[in-house]
């Protein structure tokens, strides 16, 4: 996705753009965003009695949307609010439709229902189960969060019933793919980022070309191509991939991406993708966008027929909305293995035809439901070669889905690299759910504060790379819940996971707001900033960064460290006067921080961005209330999951293992 640009010359409510050549294309917001905004507006009117002048939310992409509702009305016990869909310069059949939310009070919880103009799911395999309104999971989360935010703000403890409707949605849906997908009666409420980004095809192709070229900067031997987010997620979560091989998302442009890789001089290309996309390759469809060609069911059907399927089975295949449904049919009739082999052979043939000898190419197909489905013969050989070359680890935790999958009953082992509050909470909750959890903490102190419930084993001390690999040897999953500033540990955990082929999840803390603070890149930079300024300094960065402040007069420094001998020794070694040392364990409340600032006549508070769990908001509030200067050692944005998402991912692994499925 391209970077969004805020255009200061645009005074419209949504001045966000993407660039295409020398033109700026205006972005819009999704039906999901509109539904969440409408729900928030209606909830506000219902609970406060005031019609909101504007409604606002921050989309999952982090872009704020602030719009004036088209109307807000309250009748009896229900409030209705409507927001008009604005697709920006990407006009589709839903552009300009009103998305309305009718909100009623209920006893507890937030329930979302689809009204007139919102489609209903009639076939399995979609984001929502059969019978549900076609409001996808991300918009549901957005609607819930928006309504819950209003309830919290207005101090309403009860629940809400929200009905999303789209006047004219039924007519508009006829111009979409909903009828083919088995969604009837209206449009879908969609969107994963909350934002509609218009982009020309050429701009997309250029972006892919640049990414492929950049991927080849280090070496041009091997490349992994994935069509989209499913592929990227699969690689991130799958054992052994992508290893040390560069990876590029190629969207639907499989054929173009193969040509580009060949032009760039890559020798071996592995295509990793969802069967819903890559099965099209079996029919020689090299642009997998549905507007060019679909043919997924037809291909399943043709290959099943080639393998001897009856007309009845073929008919059943043709009735499926999604490829997972086709797999299920074939599994039921005991034909999956044979049809899969036939499809894989065909995929390989077409890939080789396209590559025309310029690159060695193979494909790996997976499904979100069944995990890894299979690899083409060439992909198999290629991956073996990559393992021999040391760029892919030996497989051990990942299995290819077969019909003869044996049930797994042994306890699932999860390794958590912790030492943080999130690590402690995660380990306790996973142990409660029956996982065999090993928590690695660097210090004895970390060991002491780690909860010791049944199922948790604590490993104390700094581990060498080999020891980390050994620890991960028979683990199903590794969670890196280390401190956001412990980058070297994160790197070594990542390396160990790649080497052992264990799936890794990075648990990240959201970055905090640092409005009004001086943000620097390192402790050294903070020290430089402080050198020319007068006043006492409260150092809350931890003992490891203490040395960076050695140029500053010791009498000005008031380090707040953990109550450990080694921390005190470090302070003493630095020559910090004993009266200046604060040896306490957090968390510290705002009041406590304020008291320290006032007591010690502090003028500067130096802190890392430790997030909510690191007590950062309390420090920031205390600094603001006392009027002192806060210096924040910033950190780079990291990709990963928050605590709740990590927990959900771990649960999925536990669930799959206990139910005999595969990762």
């Amino acid at each position: 996705m391209a970077d969004l640009i805020r255009n200061p010359e645009d005074n419209t409510p949504f001045p966000w753009y993407v660039r295409s050549g020398t033109k700026l294309l205006r972005c819009g917001y999704t039906t999901g965003t509109c539904a969440a905004l409408a729900a928030a507006g209606a909830a506000e009117l219902l609970l406060s009695g005031n019609k909101p002048e504007s409604v606002r939310l921050v989309t999952p992409k982090g872009i704020p949307v602030d719009v004036v509702p088209d109307y807000c009305d309250k009748k009896d016990d229900q409030a209705v609010c409507a927001v008009r869909k604005d697709g920006g310069d990407d006009l589709d059949s839903t552009d300009g439709l009103l998305i309305t939310a009718a909100v009623k009070k209920s006893e507890s919880g937030i329930r979302i229902e689809g009204g007139a103009g919102v489609g209903r799911v009639t076939r399995p395999g979609l984001d929502q189960p059969v019978g549900e309104a076609a409001i996808n999971s991300v918009p549901r989360k957005m609607i819930t969060a928006a309504a819950a935010g209003v309830c919290e703000e207005l101090g309403y403890p009860g629940g809400l019933e929200i009905t999303i409707s789209v006047p004219g949605g039924e007519v508009a849906a006829k111009k979409t793919f909903n009828p083919q997908l088995g969604i009837t009666g209206g449009i879908s409420i969609l969107g994963t980022s909350g934002i509609v980004e218009p982009m020309s095809e050429q701009a997309l192709l250029d972006t892919i070309a640049i990414e492929i070229r950049q991927a080849g900067c280090g070496q041009k031997d091997r490349l992994i191509l994935t069509p989209g987010n499913y592929g990227a997620d699969y690689l991130r979560s799958s054992a052994g991939l992508p290893g040390l091989v560069p990876q590029v998302k190629c969207s639907n442009y499989i054929g173009n991406a193969i040509d580009m890789a060949a032009n760039e001089g890559f020798r071996e290309v592995l295509l990793v993708g969802h069967i819903g996309k890559l099965v099209k390759l079996a029919g020689g469809i090299m642009n997998t966008h549905s507007r060019y060609a679909d043919g997924r069911r037809e291909l399943f059907c043709a290959h099943a027929a080639l393998c001897g399927a009856s007309a009845e089975i073929c008919r059943e295949l043709m009735e499926q909305a999604m490829t997972d449904g086709c797999i299920e049919v074939l599994l039921r009739h005991g034909m999956w293995e044979e049809v899969k082999q036939s499809l894989l052979i065909s995929v390989q043939e077409h890939l080789e035809q396209r590559a025309a000898g310029a690159v060695r190419i193979g494909a790996l197909l997976f499904s979100n439901v069944y995990g890894t489905l299979g690899t083409t013969a060439e992909a198999d050989c290629m991956m073996d070669d990559w393992r021999a070359a040391g760029v892919l680890p030996e497989p051990h935790a990942e299995h290819v889905f077969t019909e003869k999958q044996e049930e797994k009953t042994e306890q699932v082992r999860i390794v958590i690299f912790g030492g943080t509050a999130e690590g402690r909470e995660l380990s306790a909750r996973l142990a409660e759910e029956g996982a065999d959890v090993t928590v690695c903490v660097a210090s004895e102190y970390g060991n002491a504060v780690q909860e010791t419930v049944k199922g948790i084993h604590v490993q104390t001390g700094t581990l060498s790379p080999e020891e980390k690999q050994e620890l991960l040897r028979d683990a199903c999953l590794c969670v890196d819940a280390t401190h956001p500033y412990a980058l070297h540990i994160t790197e070594s955990v990542k390396e160990a996971c790649i080497r052992t082929g264990v799936r890794r999840i990075r648990l990240v803390r959201a970055a905090s707001r640092t409005d009004g603070a001086v943000v620097v890149r390192s402790a050294g930079e903070a020290a430089e900033y402080l050198q020319g300024r007068k006043g006492n300094i409260l150092l809350t960065t931890g003992v490891k960064e203490l040395q960076d402040f050695r140029q500053i007069d010791r009498s000005r420094l008031f380090p707040r460290v953990l109550p450990l001998g080694e921390s005190l020794a470090a302070c003493e070694e630095m020559g910090i006067p004993a009266k200046n040392i604060i040896a306490m364990q957090g968390p510290f409340s705002r009041e406590c921080n304020e008291a320290m600032i006032r007591q010690l006549d502090i003028a500067f508070l130096v802190s890392k961005d430790g997030g909510v769990r690191g007590g950062f908001p309390e420090k920031a509030e205390a600094a603001e209330n006392t009027g002192i200067c806060m210096i924040v050692i910033g950190r780079d944005e990291e990709e990963g999951l928050d605590l709740q998402e990590t927990l959900e991912e771990c649960r999925k692994v536990l669930h799959r293992s206990y139910s005999g499925g595969t990762l």
């Binding site: 660039r19 050549g21 700026l24 640049i210 070229r213």
Partner: protein
């Protein structure tokens, strides 16, 4: 990399060779123009079946020169190569800054075009009034052919007065050269002149399409290859000396 290196770069050597070649062509043509005007005029309309003449040789030279710009070789200067995606080495940039740069450069480029067309319109008018003839316009073209390299190597009025870009590598209108050289050919209605003029239009259109679709390749703020530190041409060192 030593920015103050005195040793001529391979690109400078290449430029000098081309300059002297063009100078030679100009001198030869000037000598013929001054000594045998009538013969030269005859040659301009002589078909190739009657024998290869210096005009045919000149046409081939011009055509080869333009074709190499339509399909540029890797040995060319970054000034031309920057349009191609393989020479785009992206760096972080502000999209709005890029668009501001594009807008400003476009205004300057339009100014250059206007000045150039007005300047040549004078010759066009003189030609239509019968004051000057085909042969004079041909000599003007050959003079522009030489001037192109004078602009690159010594002094470019468009660069210093209008475009104000730091060097040729960063020039928005670098590949307008052929269009400018063959502008006088527009006024002469025959195969020799129009084939040259319209081929030069193809070179120009190709360049402008690249610029419209990928402006980020043309700005030093977004393409690392256009930064001085990555420059292999270093023509500015000599051009700067000439101008000082």
């Amino acid at each position: 990399m030593n920015l103050h290196a005195k040793k001529p770069t391979p690109m400078l050597k290449r430029y000098l060779v081309t300059f002297f070649f063009r100078l030679a062509v100009f001198i030869i043509m000037l000598v013929i123009y001054l000594t045998d005007r009538v013969r030269l005029e005859e040659l301009m309309s002589q078909p190739i079946v009657n024998g290869v003449t210096i005009i045919h040789v000149l046409w081939v030279i011009f055509m080869i020169m333009m074709l190499t710009h339509i399909f540029p070789s890797n040995r060319f200067s970054m000034a031309i190569k920057k349009a191609d995606h393989v020479n785009y080495d992206p760096q972080e940039f502000e999209e709005l800054e890029l668009l501001r740069f594009v807008k400003e450069q476009n205004i300057r480029a339009w100014t250059v075009l206007l000045v150039w067309l007005c300047f040549n319109a004078v010759f066009g008018l003189l030609y239509l009034l019968g004051v000057i003839k085909d042969i004079d316009l041909l000599m003007l073209t050959v003079f522009y052919f030489l001037s192109d390299y004078i602009c690159i190597l010594f002094y470019c009025p468009f660069q210093f007065k209008i475009m104000k870009n730091r060097c040729c590598v960063n020039c928005r209108i670098y590949d307008w050269g052929h269009f400018m050289i063959f502008t006088p050919m527009l006024f002469i209605c025959n195969f020799f002149s129009w084939s040259l003029f319209f081929t030069s239009c193809v070179v120009l259109i190709r360049w402008e399409l690249y610029y419209a679709k990928h402006p980020e390749r043309f700005w030093f703020g977004s393409n690392k290859n256009l930064n001085c530190v990555n420059c292999k041409d270093r023509i500015c060192k000599y051009k700067g000396k000439c101008n000082s």
